[in-house]
Each structure stands twice: as C-alpha cells, then as structure tokens.
C-alpha cells in the first residue's frame, strides 16, 4: 500500500529538512522579509555612517574610524540574533501548539533530532537573513580597519554558538510554556538572565557562568576591534589577566566559551528530543540530570580553584588589578566567606531546578505503578520517569556539598589567609544543609505536588527573608532578624559559611546570633526533612499497595 520508500531526513542535512524548509517558505516571503531587511539595512547603514563620521571628525585615521563601527554593529547583530531570534523561536513553537498543528509535526516520521534542528534553524530564519544583511557592513569595517581574521573569526564563531544557546533556550521555553505570551516573556527573561544576571555570579567566584555569554570573547577580541590607541591600552590591561584556566589546563576564551556553551546546548538537545519523542516525558532523565549537575560543579571548581592563588578570583582583587594596584592589598576575609555562601546558595538553587525536572507527578507515579502491576512487577524501574527522584536529590546534594567544600577549602586555606583551615567536619555540615533543603524539597514535591511547594516556598522561603530584611534595618532588631531569616532554607548555605568558617568576622551582635540560629534552623530543617521523607515513603507505599493489591478488574 505504502509504495514510497521510508522517509529519511538525516539531522545533519539541514538544508533538506522539511521543517526548516517549511519555515523558509513562510518566514521568507518577500513582503515580510522586504520590510525587515529594509529596516535592518537602514539601521546598519546609519550606524556605519554616523560612527565613522564622528570618528573622522575627531581626527581618527580612516582605518580607526572603520574599526570604531564594529562594536555598535555587533550590538545590532546581538539584538537581531539574540533577542528577536530567541523570541521567534519561543513564540513560534508556542504558536504551533496554540494552533494545534504540533500534533501533525509529532506524527511526521522524522527523528526527534531532525525536528529539533528544523525548528532551531527554521523558526528564526528571517533573523538569520537579517543578520546576514549586516555582514557586508561588518565586512567593510573589518577590511578597512585591517582587523586580522584571527580576531574576528573566533568572535563570530562564539556569536553563532551564543545564538544557538539562546535559540535553544527559546525553543525549550516555547515547548514548555503554556501560551504564546508567556513563552515570549519567559524567553526574553531567560535570555536577559543568561546574559546579565547569571554572568554576575562570576564576580563572586563562579567564573564558569560568564562563559555562557559572548562577553569574554568580545573582551578578548577588543584590542583588535577598537582603534589602535584604545586597543593597545586594553591589550596591556588584558595582559595582566590570565587566560582561561581549567584546573591545570589553559584555554583561550573562545575555546572555553564554545566548550561551556556546547555542554548546555547538548543538554537542551536532550531535553527537546525527549519532549518530541514523548510529550509526557520529563525534560531530563534522572541520570542525565545528575550528570549535568556534576558537570556544572566540575566546571565551577575547574575555573575557580586555579584563580585563587593569583587572587584574581576575589572581587576586590579584580578591581585593584584593573587600577594597577596589584599585590598591594590582600582580599578581605569576608569576601571569601560571602563567596563560599554564594557558591552554596547557587548549588542549592541548581538542585531545586533539577529536582523539579526529575520528580514524578502523582499522575505519573500512578501510571507507573499500574504499568508495573500489568507487567507483573512489584517495583518501578529505577531510572524511569515514574520512579522516585529521591536518590537523584541525594546524589546531587552530596556532589554539591563536595563541590562547595572543595571551593571553600580552596579559598580559606589559600596563601591569602594563613593559619586558617576548613576541617573535614564542615563537609558533613554542608552536606546536612544541602540534604535537608534539597531532599526535603524533593520529598514535599513528590508527595504533595507543586502547589504545596509553591506555598511553602512563599511562606517559609521568602516571607521570613522579607520580614527579616525589614527588621534588620534597625540595628537593635538585627539579631532577631537573623533568627527569622534563618528559617528560610535559602539562607542556610550563607549561614553555614558565616558560622562555620574561622575567617568570618561578624559584628558582635550577629556573631552570637548567627551560629545559634544556624544550628537551630539546621536541626529543624533536618527534622522536617526526615518527616517529609517518611511521609513520602508512606505515600508511595500506600499508592503502590493500592495499585498492586487492587482486584484484577480495578487496578
């Protein structure tokens, strides 16, 4: 009956990918494309003419004037690819679902990867064409400015990988978000976050996060892109900064950025392929989520530890280096305490995100048990989506505690703080913090569902911090505020670092309150976690018994 050969659309043959071609057709219609190109060319032309004219007016030579055009053009290209392209990827994906045609695409006999790549390059195809129309202007500036290919090629390679990272973010948001407006807002929010908020973590020792943006490579390329005098100044400052260090290895900014973004892209691909294969699947399996967490921990440590002895990991040292006051002032001990606390907090936040991804809903658990019963099993497959996410939470918490401990020990036992050390017992307390918060959260989510977690997050996680912050304004109430804020699991990592490290130099009132508050709330958190875990096991056992012991007709 089906006389046609089986359709095969290899993922790498993007130009013949039907999904890509479908969007080329709909998004590159002359009418819509024409207006977009006209606007792009006008803006790019205006930038080139204006910046060059101002440069020449300021006595720049023609080649320097041409170079000064490159950064503004890069900004325009960033807006086109990163902002418009990402919004299109997210909005287009949601539009498919809104219209209901996504089911047709699910049924197409193409591999999930082919579909993902078709959407990835197809949805923002107009933005790619708009970007291409700016390239002649950039090409002119590079040529006239005499910029070496060793400068611009790595830069544009990273612009491309960054665009892919952001478009994947948009695609994922569009796949998960419920409606078009939310998808658009969430994708813009995520890109903003990835581009501005997340890289700020680099200032507190989590250097890896800055490699998720194009910024490090732009900074590395700046001497070659700016006018010769400014470029030389920037280059001389940059010579003070080390190249990217990863444990004992040295990398260029470009290679490491591509490597970091590559890991994130790979994870996004896995998430999207899982969703295309089965719409009900979790975004990540338990193994992949745990592996991803460990990979992030490795990158955080690999980037941070080699920079401790040089001092460039410390925010204050980074600043003094820039003003050529190197080696004049050691880092502040409280800097190290804050950096350790932030590391713990970010680790806990990552655990929360990944645990939310791998924790099965009640519906999914029920289905899993019924399936197991039908197959004559008395337990769920360990790695299936329906199985508990409890073990993944424990492994992540322990791995996170390990990373946090190594980072803290690296800071405290560095040459900057002689005489201080971090005993191995601190690892146990760090583990207790992450286990009680992370596993407790997982147990609550699995046993009671998202609504309970949201309410708990508001009333236990956020409200005490808000009230405590208001109270802390008054110096007299600061110790009470410390006790109140300590109720929030989010404050535990910061309290742990502040209470356990010999470096901590808290004001007198706080130096008594904080360790006691930490011990008390950690004890409460551990008890609560044990109670939640017990509830989870009781609930799971009850569910399993209900399904497995039910009469044959009504499992």
């Amino acid at each position: 009956m089906n006389e046609h050969p089986p359709s095969r659309h290899p993922a790498w043959k993007i130009w013949s990918n039907p999904v890509f071609r479908r969007y080329c057709r709909s998004r590159l219609r002359p009418q819509g494309l024409g207006v977009s190109l006209l606007v792009t060319v006008l803006i790019a032309g205006f930038i080139v003419a204006m910046v060059r004219a101002v440069g020449l007016q300021n006595q720049m030579d023609p080649s320097d004037a041409a170079r000064s055009v490159i950064i503004p053009l890069l900004f325009l290209q960033g807006i086109i690819l990163f902002v418009l392209g990402t919004a299109q990827a997210a909005g287009g994906m949601t539009a498919e679902r809104d219209e209901g045609v996504i089911d047709y695409q699910r049924l197409i006999p193409m591999s999930p990867l082919s579909k993902v790549l078709g959407y990835l390059f197809g949805l923002p195809v107009r933005e790619y064409v708009m970007f291409l129309t700016t390239l002649p202007f950039t090409g002119w500036a590079l040529w006239t400015g005499g910029v070496a290919w060793q400068v611009w090629l790595p830069l544009y390679a990273v612009v491309f990988t960054s665009a892919l990272t952001y478009h994947f973010t948009g695609l994922l948001t569009g796949t998960v978000a419920k409606n078009r407006r939310w998808a658009f807002l969430a994708s813009i929010g995520l890109v903003f976050c990835l581009y501005t908020a997340v890289p700020q973590m680099a200032k507190f020792g989590l250097v890896f996060f800055k490699y998720l943006t194009v910024t490090p490579v732009v900074e590395e390329s700046l001497p070659g892109l700016l006018s010769k005098t400014v470029g030389a100044a920037v280059e001389s400052i940059q010579k003070l900064a080390p190249t990217v260090k990863f444990f004992g290895l040295d990398f260029s900014e470009t290679v490491f950025t591509v490597f970091s973004q590559g890991g994130l892209i790979l994870t996004f691909v896995v998430m999207l392929c899982r969703k295309w294969r089965r719409a009900e699947s979790h975004l990540l399996g338990k193994t992949w989520a745990t592996g991803f967490f460990i990979w992030i921990q490795t990158l955080l440590l690999g980037n941070a530890l080699p920079l401790i002895d040089t001092g460039s990991l410390f925010p204050s040292r980074g600043f003094t280096r820039m003003v050529r006051m190197m080696n004049q002032r050691p880092p502040d001990p409280m800097e190290a305490v804050a950096m350790s606390g932030i590391y713990g907090l970010i680790t806990l936040a990552l655990i929360f995100i990944l645990v939310a991804i791998v924790t099965p809903s009640t519906d999914s658990q029920l289905r899993g048990w019924r399936r197991a019963r039908k197959q004559g099993d008395t337990s769920l497959s360990f790695f299936s989506d329906a199985a508990t996410g409890f073990w993944a939470a424990i492994v992540m918490a322990l791995a996170g505690a390990g990373g946090w401990f190594l980072f803290t020990r690296g800071l405290v036992e560095s040459r900057w703080f002689p005489g201080h050390e971090v005993p191995i017992g601190v690892f146990g307390l760090f583990a207790a913090v992450l286990l009680s918060a992370g596993v407790g959260y997982q147990a609550l989510l699995e046993a009671k569902g998202g609504r309970h977690v949201t309410l708990t997050a508001i009333f236990v996680g956020v409200v005490p911090v808000m009230i405590g912050a208001v109270m802390a304004v008054s110096e007299n109430l600061a110790p009470i505020a410390v006790w109140l804020i300590g109720m929030s699991p989010l404050s535990l990592p910061v309290y742990a670092s502040s209470s356990l490290l010999s470096l901590a130099e808290l004001p007198e009132g706080l130096s008594r309150a904080m360790p006691r508050a930490f011990q008390f709330w950690l004890f409460v958190a551990i008890l609560t976690c044990c109670w939640l875990v017990k509830n989870l096991w009781v609930a799971r056992r009850a569910m399993a018994r209900k399904v497995l012991d039910a009469p044959a007709a009504e499992p």
Binding site: P6, S7, R25, I108, D363, R367
Partner: protein, 331 residues
C-alpha cells in the same frame, strides 16, 4: 477480556487468517484517578471502515491518541499493521494517517504549501512527484480550485477537507479519523464516504469516530460502541443493536374491524405496553424477541381478528446511544 471483546475477537477470527490491521490489547489510559480507557481489547481486520461510537468522555479520543503515538497509555499493546506502536514509534508513524477532531491548519501557509510540507516530510519523492500527489489528494476532496488559497481563509468544511487531503498524502495503511464529517455539507459528506470506501477497497483500514451516527452507520462496514472507557458492543449495526439488548419497538396493527377485542387481548400480553387505538389501527409498544413478536401476530389471527397490515418501528441507533449517555448521568 469482556464478553463483547471475546465476540469481537471471535468475529475477527471468522474473517480469516489475515492478521488484524488494528490490534488493541488490554489498553488502559488514566488521567490521575480517572480511567479514560479501561482495558480495551479490540481487533479490526484489514480493509474495514470501522466506526467508533460513544458519548462524550467515552474514551474515543484517548484511544485515538494512543493509536497515533501521540500519547503513552498506562499499559496495553497496540499493533497497527504488524507494527508495535509503543515500541517502534517511527515505523508506526509512517503507516498512520491521522485527522484530529476540529482539524487545525497553520495560518502562515497556503493550501499547496501545507500539503507539500507534509509530502516532503513523508519523503514522497521529488518536488514534481510531491506536487502530483498533492494535486491527486486535493482532487479527492474536491478542493483543486483552492490550492493557492491561504489555509486561514478556508471555511470550516474546507479546512476539514484540506486536512483529510493531508492525511491521505502518504497513502497510509491505517487511517484514523476523529469526527471527520463535522463541518462538512451533505455533498462533502457523500464525497468523504465514497473516498473512505475507495480507500478501504485498496486494503487500507479506516478507523473513524463520529457523533453523526447515521453517517457512521452508512459509512462503516462495522463499528463498536464505547462508554466510560469500556467496549459495550461491536459488529455490524444490527449486531451492535442486538448486543446492546435493545428489543424495544413500536408495533402498529391495521385491522379490518374488532379493534376493541384486539386491544383487550393485546393489553393482557406482558410484553405489550402503551397501547392506544387510532381509527382502524392499534398502536402499542413491544419489548421482546422476534419470536415473541411472531407469536403475538399468530395469536391475533387465531382470535379471528383480521389483520390487514403489521408494521414495526425499531428504536433508532441514536436512541440507543442517547440511552447510554443518559445512563452516564444517573448516579
């Protein structure tokens, strides 16, 4: 397996040794504690136009979504034309043609572009071959003149037909149509019916649901009735009516005199109810077997009542399903 499912299996076995085109075993779909499809077992031989009937919430769409690989069931086995739908999704997708209820179309494509995209996705040869096949399918649904129109400009009925054309493109061996006749005018319905029959003759199996039951009865070679996720009946329209235990009918005896005597005798029979006399006719409700009905006629003749005509009006298929739907509302 319920008795109805055993009958379905037995009827399939009687149809020959060919493996079934659609073979569903112990299919269950849950949404939390709600059981949408409850251990459904069903076989459909190749070349059938098989109807699925049931009130809202019967589990029709959930069954279709599992069959089309769009949803993973709680458990069960679904084999389409020898391909295990849950194990080999990609192969299953090649042989399935699915038209969902209220079939949507993309707003940013023209009719021919929509068809060409799907033809390319199913790997239907060169550009010229794809266009030729798209033209054939458009002709099949009588929409050749609309090929250059934007999909969003089509009427509801035209949209249904375009999606049907898309569904036919890759010559699927199993066609799954959820309410395909909704929105179609009578002429288009007739064309749809004919197209499905033509398709079935080529060996394809059509699994179709509809709320227009008379349409379905005309369209299908056999059908099944689902309610609350369970199979209630399966077979030809008459077999289904019988399986559902509907022996209720209205009988009209046209007499040559002695209407009162006939009415008096009839009202003494236990299967007779709601009796009334209208001129020379005695009209009454009867609930019983065909044999009991024949006995009734014979009894009247033995009484010496001269019966000029005896008519029966059985409850319609719609009536049966209304009864099923109403039984759902009862506590």
């Amino acid at each position: 397996m319920t008795s109805i499912e055993r009958m379905n299996a037995a009827s399939f076995a009687a149809n020959g040794s060919q493996p079934p085109a659609i073979d569903i075993r112990d299919l269950r779909v849950d949404y939390g504690n709600f059981v949408a499809v409850d251990d459904l077992t069903l076989s459909v031989p190749p070349g059938e136009v098989f109807g699925l009937v049931g009130p809202n919430g019967a589990g029709k769409t959930s069954t279709f979504r599992v069959l089309t690989t769009l949803m993973e069931p709680t458990y069960g086995e679904v084999i389409l034309d020898g391909v295990d739908v849950l194990e080999d999704i990609e192969s299953a997708r090649r042989i399935i043609g699915y038209m969902p209820d209220l079939a949507p179309v993309p707003s940013d494509l023209k009719v021919w572009e929509f068809l060409d995209f799907h033809a390319a996705a199913y790997g239907l040869g060169t550009k010229a071959q794809r266009r030729e096949r798209a033209a054939e399918c458009l002709e099949e649904v009588a929409l050749t003149d609309q090929r250059d129109k934007w999909c969003k400009e089509l009427s509801r009925g035209q949209t249904q037909r375009v999606v049907l054309a898309k569904t036919l493109l890759h010559r699927p061996r199993v066609l799954i149509l959820d309410e395909p006749a909704s929105g179609l005018d009578p002429l288009a319905r007739r064309d749809l019916r004919n197209a499905l029959r033509r398709l079935a003759k080529t060996g394809a199996t059509v699994f179709v649901s509809s709320h227009i039951l008379s349409e379905l009865a005309e369209m299908c070679t056999s059908l099944c009735v689902m309610n609350r996720g369970r199979l209630l009946a399966s077979g030809t329209v008459d077999e289904v009516r019988q399986q559902m235990g509907s022996t209720e009918r209205t009988l009209t005896a046209t007499l040559l005199g002695r209407q009162e005597a006939a009415a008096s005798w009839l009202s003494a029979q236990h299967a007779v109810h709601d009796l009334r006399i209208d001129l020379n006719q005695v009209i009454f409700g009867f609930k019983g077997t065909d044999e009991a009905q024949a006995d009734l006629m014979e009894g009247m003749i033995r009484l010496g009542i001269r019966v000029r005509a005896f008519e029966e009006k059985r409850s319609s298929f719609e009536d049966i399903l209304v009864e099923v739907a109403e039984s759902n509302r009862r506590p």
